[in-house]
């Protein structure tokens, strides 16, 4: 049983569980938290789960958990682990069921005064135009050929179909597609689930938010990103929908059956994995890449629908600042033992944050670094940050949000959805949703304090604050 005495303080924002804590750990486990958060973390099993991930074959340096960490179902949420590409494993559970769940920030050239008279109408129209997809369908129905093209082409394919602009591609992590995607590795079940889900938000903590920039921390980077005070922005949070969920389900099963073949012993079956270079590992990676491309295309379609509403009501356009994934496995080069090595980086509820001059960044962000989007919980601030060289220590990874602090059942017992909507309305925030009862699960009280989470990220040097935004309207989709 893990206690505070098992942790070694590295600095004010970083604690480590040494490899010696448990016989099967291959590397130490690190948690980016401050002293105050450390007390909270022992309330759930996130640290035990982090220790479990340190047992995965081929894991290098450290496994890490970000300050928004909480208990998941195998891998902790907020978890980051890098495995050697040649000797290590890939694990679907360490990526998550919602493959490439992520966020995208759209920028307008308007300020809050410009949209104030239209806000209610904008929120209504966005809610009406962008389906949640639960019990409803998206506006595009893909046939077999169409689906395969989306799985291969991601954002690029969506733009070819007329659902965006060429510069949208530049402003996406991995330019909105992973080239190793192979649609033939995605099951018919997964494809049939995703067939009419393109351009839908999904449920739970997925949303679209109209926001306002209220604070600029770094004028130079803000200018480069195109951010200014009182600017209206739109944040989209969604992923690969039923297609991604099915891909993960299929491959957790497949890998579970292959564990004996590769003589892999795991403390948790949900960490089921296979060597990256094995047929199972390769097949999963190609299917995961395809699902990731579907998610990027999904966020592109939602962008297109948001642009249609924006154009219709305001006769204005929206630009993409950046799009990041926070449940994904990426092949990246990082320093291991003083040498650059190719790794498979698993980020589950964690976001990539590349520094300035990184070759994977688009030209216009090369001089400053990658935009990093961290949404707060409903009704609270969200942050835009920029990647730093200091984040080398975390495989250039940061948190993905505020992180849950209360169970959904406890939130529903404590908070009435209707009261929450009224409370948000009193603060000037419009909420459009189909189910007030379900909304209680997403109340701010159910999450950690985003300012404290960002404080740790910035304090640890993993990313630098650029701007803070607050919500004006939250849209959950019909």
């Amino acid at each position: 049983m893990l206690t505070k005495n098992d942790l070694k303080k590295i600095n004010n924002y970083l604690f480590e569980i040494p490899k010696s804590f448990r016989f099967d750990m291959r590397v130490p486990a690190r948690a980016y938290v401050d002293e105050k958060m450390l007390e909270q973390i022992f309330r759930d099993k996130s640290l035990e789960q982090l220790v479990n991930t340190a047992t995965l074959p081929g894991v290098v340096n450290y496994v890490m958990a970000m300050p928004d960490m909480h208990e998941g179902y195998g891998f902790p949420i907020g978890g980051v682990a890098g495995m050697d590409l040649e000797t290590g494993v890939i694990s679907p559970g360490a990526v998550g069921y919602d493959i490439n769940c992520g966020t995208r920030l759209l920028l307008s050239d308007l300020i809050d005064q410009d949209i104030k008279p239209h806000l209610e109408n904008l929120a209504d129209q966005l809610n009406h135009t962008i389906p949640s997809g639960i019990g409803s369908t998206g506006k595009i129905k893909l046939d077999r050929n169409g689906m395969d093209k989306i799985l291969t082409g991601g954002v690029k394919r969506a733009v070819e179909m007329g659902y965006g602009e060429k510069q949208d591609l530049d402003c996406c992590e991995s330019y909105g597609l992973i080239k190793e995607a192979d649609p033939s590795k995605v099951s018919d079940k997964a494809k049939s689930r995703g067939r009419d889900q393109l351009g839908t938000l999904g449920s739970g903590n997925h949303f679209l938010e109209i926001q306002k920039v209220v604070e600029i921390f770094d004028e130079t980077v803000a200018k480069k990103f195109g951010l200014f005070l009182n600017q209206i922005t739109i944040l989209i949070h969604t992923g690969s929908r039923g297609l991604g969920h099915q891909v993960c389900t299929d491959y957790v099963q497949l890998m579970g059956r292959a564990l004996e073949k590769y003589k892999i012993n795991l403390p948790d079956r949900e960490l089921a994995c296979a060597p990256f270079i094995s047929p199972e590992g390769q097949t999963y990676f190609k299917a995961m890449a395809a699902a990731a491309n579907f998610a990027w295309a999904n966020r592109q379609l939602v962008t297109h629908l948001a642009r249609q509403v924006w154009q219709k009501i305001l006769n204005k356009n929206l630009k993409v600042l950046y799009d990041v994934a926070h449940n994904i496995g990426k092949i990246e080069e990082h320093e291991v033992g003083g040498q650059l090595k190719k790794l498979i980086i698993h980020r589950k509820g964690a976001t990539r944050a590349f520094p300035a001059s990184h070759p994977e960044l688009p030209l216009n962000y090369q001089s400053v670094g990658q935009p990093v989007l961290i949404p707060g919980s409903m009704g609270t601030s969200s942050y835009i940050l920029v990647g730093t060289t200091e984040a080398r220590q975390s495989f250039y990874s940061v948190c993905h949000g505020a992180g849950r602090a209360m169970s959904r059942t406890a939130a529903k017992r404590k908070i009435w959805g209707q009261d929450l909507i009224k409370d948000l309305a009193r603060r000037g925030i419009i909420v459009k949703c189909g189910s007030p009862a379900g909304l209680a699960e997403e109340a701010p009280e159910a999450y950690k304090n985003i300012d404290e989470v960002i404080n740790v990220v910035a304090g640890a040097g993993l990313a630098r604050r650029v701007a803070r935004v607050v919500p004006l309207a939250v849209i959950k989709g019909e």
Partner: protein
Amino acid sequence: MKQKYEILEHPADLKIRAYGQNLSELFNNVLLAMTEAMKPRVIEQNFISQKIDLKANNLENLLIDFLSEVIYQTDLNNLVYSRAEFDKINEQELSGKIFGQKIKTLETEIKAVTWHDLEVKKENNQWRAILIFDL
């Protein structure tokens, strides 16, 4: 009346404990627990049936495969499956039908059933299962 299931505390996801005198009852009570958690808005009261036939190496695999299939069918057909009738069910095989109602929407969507902390065992002549679902 014997308890069918309980919804347990979990920080982010759905954790349930279900009971049954036999496997059929156990599997049905898991479906009931899932239905309560999803809080469907049913728009047609009549039930639509779907055949289901599965084989697995052991009971854990069978239960996970069964629930994965139910979750898949729910997403595909917009039906919430709250009960099942089995012609045959043992620790390695099941065959029968699941019964679902058309929904307008769900308050909470279940993304998948996980292997994490999975427990299926018989104690004092009663079956018990503990499962965590990703929401």
